[in-house]
């Protein structure tokens, strides 16, 4: 997070205090969205009990807001049964979302963000109910997995009068290079994953991610969670150049096959001596590029996962995509990739869920107050 800070003066640098790793829970947006992907994370989807009406959902959001403030500051939330597990400086963040069904509840139907619907089942999807859907989302991230599971435990316990968990997914990501500087990070295929994102803090990012309506949702966003199983065995049978051709990027740096540095623009028109496109028609980087999608963009993040059953390991990616409008931005892209992406041969989506991520809140407020107060 401090990688962008450059010392410009000649003043002697004072002995550096331990940098604070407390991420403020407050702001115009929920703070984890634009922050680097956490080292460790857990996502929990919950379904509302039938007794949880709009007023009860508001009470839960007030409780969670109190919990989130305490947990991110490293304090035990009120009533914590294991208060010693709450420790500061773990960069803990909590993100809360509402599934489409929340907006079928009395008093909430008029407030559904446009385009917030479960995604249609794609041709390559093999969705399992165990990893799909959900009324509420909790996404907790931190530098340290003990802090993650402790926070999840408190938040799920405080939600018990209102909602029950329906799935949990645990993942991990390394977005710090060996030199301590931020990097894009790699998935378990070894690919640098997420290079094409709009840069945080640019107008492009803001236009891609933040919704401007309905009124209560201004500054919110939507999140698509897709659990993508990756067949590492058949992937490993490929030559390196076959692997690079499937994506259109080099494994070494993440640079386009047509470039030398990770963030070089793709040359989608380049052809080799035989007249063939260098970045293949069905290369993932081409099909997902905004210039090939009428300018539609998304903000991609991801978490690697492994899921062990006895000695059998399943590996994959918890694919996370933020965008202002699921139907307008994400769905066309997904449809296009499902139809032609070379990577489909080694990947299978086994879970899918969509959530509205309410805007952030400030010290005098609480989560989704403008919807639920």
């Amino acid at each position: 997070m401090t990688g962008g800070v450059v010392a410009l003066s000649n003043q002697p640098v004072p002995a550096e205090a331990t940098p604070s790793r407390v991420v403020s829970p407050y702001g115009d947006h929920q703070p984890a969205i634009a922050a680097p992907t956490p080292k460790h994370a857990e996502l929990v989807a919950l379904n509302l009990l039938s007794s949880t009406d709009r007023a009860a959902l508001g009470r839960l959001m007030r409780l969670w807001s109190t919990d989130i403030v305490a947990l991110t500051e490293g304090r035990p939330p009120p009533g914590d049964t294991a208060p010693e597990l709450a420790v500061p400086n773990t960069a803990l963040t909590v993100t809360v979302g509402f599934g489409p069904r929340v907006f079928t509840r009395p008093g909430l139907t008029a407030y559904k963000p446009s385009g917030l619907d479960d995604l249609p089942v794609m041709r390559h999807d093999r969705l399992l109910p165990a990893w799909s859907g959900g009324d509420l989302l909790l996404q907790v991230g931190a530098d340290d997995p003990v802090s993650v599971v402790h926070a999840v435990r408190r938040l799920v316990a405080d939600a018990a009068p209102f909602a029950r968990p329906v799935w949990r997914q645990t993942g991990f990501w390394n977005s710090t290079g060996p030199d301590g500087k931020p990097v894009t990070g790699r998935n378990l295929f070894g690919q640098v994953d997420g290079t094409g994102n709009p840069a945080v803090g640019t107008p492009e990012f803001d236009a891609t991610v933040w919704a401007d309506g309905p009124e209560w949702f201004r500054g919110g966003t939507t999140l698509v969670v897709r659990r993508i199983k990756m067949n590492l065995d058949t992937w490993d049978e490929l030559t390196r150049s076959e692997q690079e051709r499937a994506v259109g990027r080099k494994l070494s740096t993440g640079a386009p096959i047509t470039g030398t540095a990770e963030h070089d623009e793709l040359d989608l028109d380049a052809r080799d001596a035989d007249g063939r496109l260098v970045i293949a028609e069905n290369a993932h980087a081409r099909l997902s590029h905004h210039s090939e999608n009428d300018g539609r963009r998304i903000f991609r993040k991801g978490l690697n996962y492994v899921h062990d059953t006895g000695a059998t390991r399943e590996s994959g990616l918890i694919f996370l995509s933020y965008q202002a409008d699921v139907a307008g931005q994400f769905l066309p892209l997904l449809t296009r990739l499902d139809a032609a992406d070379a990577l489909n041969e080694w990947t299978t989506t086994i879970g899918s869920a969509v959530f509205a991520i309410p805007p952030g809140w400030h010290e005098d407020g609480w989560l989704a107050r403008d919807l639920l107060a």
Partner: protein, 178 residues
């Protein structure tokens, strides 16, 4: 609740106790900051146990952390709430080999430069003759009065608690301490 508590935190604790407000990077500055006035007690992380699912829904308890940054002991002497007909300060104590709950004579002391933690199976604020059920996520007004003459108006969240009721819920027939 956040508003009130955070305001209490900011107003009361700024001179000395920034670190208690969860702002770890201010701790060093706070250590050397001059004391401009004697701050009163700082109240944090207050909560009330829900009556939903309780055996006796006419009473419950409030818990919190009290911090006394000053140089002399301050006592929590009384509390009131519009949701309760009667509010008492209670302690759990051994009597004839049994853990019993009883009114705490003289109030709950917050030692100089230290804390008092009101927690299940310890000292607590007892809310009796409740006028309404208290559901998780409800917010209960609670006023605390201290021996230094100060008082705190709080808005306290109602929460579910996971321990078995007998371990913390005031009862006329408490279970023996294990």
């Amino acid at each position: 609740m956040k508003t009130k508590l955070l305001m209490a935190c900011a107003v009361v604790a700024l001179p000395l106790l920034l670190s208690s407000c969860g702002s770890s990077d201010s701790a060093a500055a706070a250590d050397t900051a001059p004391s401009v006035s004697t701050p009163s007690v700082l109240v944090e992380d207050a909560w009330v146990r829900t009556t939903t699912g309780a055996k006796d829904t006419t009473m419950t308890a409030a818990f919190m952390s009290l911090t006394n940054p000053g140089g002399s002991e301050i006592k929590l002497t009384s509390a009131t709430s519009p949701v309760a007909g009667t509010v008492q300060l209670h302690e759990m104590a051994m009597k004839d080999g049994k853990m019993v709950m009883r009114e705490k004579a003289g109030g709950i002391a917050v030692p100089a430069g230290s804390h008092a933690h009101l927690a299940p199976s310890g000292d607590h604020v007892m809310l009796m003759d409740l006028k309404q059920p208290l559901k998780p996520g409800d917010e209960v007004p609670l006023t605390l009065k201290f021996s230094d003459g100060s008082s705190h108006d709080l808005t306290v969240p109602v929460k579910k608690f996971t321990e078995e009721e007998e371990h913390y819920h005031p009862s006329q027939t408490p279970t023996p301490a294990s």
